[in-house]
Amino acid sequence: MTPAETPVLEMHGLTVRYGPGCATCGRSGWVRCPICGTVRGCSSVDLEVYPGEVLGIVGESGSGKSTVLACANLDLAPSSGCVVLAGADVTGVGGSRRRRLRTEVLGIVYQTPQQGLELDLTAGGNIASRPLAAGWRSYAKVRERAFELQSAVELPEDRLDVCVRDFSGGMRQRVQLAKALANSPQLLLLDEPTSGLDVSVQARILDLVRRLQRELRMAMMVVSHDLGVIRMLADRVLVMHQGRVIEHGLTDQVLQDPQQPYTQMLVSAQLL
């Protein structure tokens, strides 16, 4: 029924191990190998994100959500399995190819603005760093793009030339979003985009992300422990527990008719 499309992101059998690894930890069902102490970040994760679609990943702290996201952003090479971006296998790429993929295909908003921004640069400088990395050389054009983005994320115009260090948390998060969108990425990765923000700012950022996602028809992967964030943004959702995907489905179905005991516990623990 749906036309055949190439997923923007595919992951097949993605497994990440933190630690030296030994002969037993590949086979055992342990999250932490009892012999060498290696921790399994995620095990055999399969997922696909199609153009224009938003995939949510929920789970408690330590369930492997951020590990999966780090692999998608090519920050981390999987121990086994593969990562395919826009049809091309990019498992373990580095150097200039990785840089190019990050500037042309991916955009990311980290949980803490310090990870994604240079705090001592101005907002404009931070946003401009991505068009510059993609080879833009005209100051006027880069400046114009920064203005465009800054109004898209609803930052006050007179703050473009102010150091990000002087911004509030919510404003920093919006600068991150503007930066991530600067090169019109095919896939936007969001890692807990609103944790640490108060609810009114949270609503504003979520609303903004949702509107921009629809306008730009961009694929998105959102990692959050907050089911409210997932409900508002995601079309489909994966539930992770101890490094594995234990349940997947349409967002409203997983939230209203969770199949797994763990998911039921998660949903019923939520303050709605």
Binding site: E53, A203, R204, L206, L250, Q256, D257, P261, Q264, M265
Partner: protein, 223 residues
């Protein structure tokens, strides 16, 4: 040929936090909807009326059975289709209006309805035709009363014409006049050829609307 064909539909809920107690709701339900027909599902509270609509919309995952949607050139079993096919079907083929509105913070009633592919003028006409007060158009529905939200909710479902529309108590919190307006809007939609399956607290008496009433008993359609 029917547009929606439900066969042997089973749905139960396992409550793992209650020691895995199972609650059977639908037990082998069969139902056929003819194209362009308006069917009302009736039955006491807890008989599974809403669960049936949600199973069709895939908000609930059926245990077994089939929910086959047959349109001009395609056929899709909603109970077993891949998630992306269900999403596509929800966009193009099946609408659902419930009694509760999931409001999006900051968006006005007008923007919510216009978001379904209408211009703001068309959205305003639709909302006003359902009896919404003009002063509320540009306000976010989070501040609305139950009835006002319900009007917005129905407008969202009516905004994008789809061949099949599921209605769950869409007039429950409306006053008599506005409930009448809602039913007239549904009758107009029916004349346009939309197939509808509805749950109502009291079966509407509007002439030319309801074709068939089915009674749910023990998780099936009573003969």
């Amino acid at each position: 040929m029917s547009e929606l064909c439900i066969r042997e539909l089973y749905k139960s809920f396992a409550q793992y936090q209650r020691g895995g107690q199972r609650l059977d709701v639908l037990r082998g339900l069969d139902l056929d909807l003819a194209p362009g027909s308006f069917t009302v599902v009736n039955g006491p509270s807890g008989s599974g009326k809403s669960s049936l609509l949600r199973c069709i919309y895939r908000t609930y995952l059926p245990d077994s059975g089939s929910v086959t949607l047959r349109l001009a050139d395609q056929s899709l079993d909603l109970a077993a289709a891949p998630e992306r096919d269900v999403l596509a079907a929800r966009r193009d083929c099946i609408g659902m209006a419930t009694q509760f509105l999931q409001a999006v913070p900051r968006l006005s009633a007008l923007e919510l309805v216009a978001g379904e592919g209408l211009s703001e003028d068309e959205a305003a006409v639709l909302l006003l035709s359902l009896g919404l007060d003009p002063s509320l158009l540009s306000l976010p529905p989070a501040t609305f009363s139950g009835g006002e939200r319900q009007m917005v909710n129905l407008a969202i479902a009516l905004a994008r014409p789809r061949p099949l529309l599921l209605l769950d108590e869409v007039t429950a919190s409306l006053d008599a006049k506005r409930a009448g307006l809602a039913l007239q809007a549904l009758r107009a939609l029916k004349r346009g050829g939309t197939t509808m399956l509805a749950v109502f607290h009291t079966i509407p008496r509007l002439p030319g609307l309801v074709d068939r009433v089915v009674e749910l008993r023990d998780g099936r359609v009573a003969a």
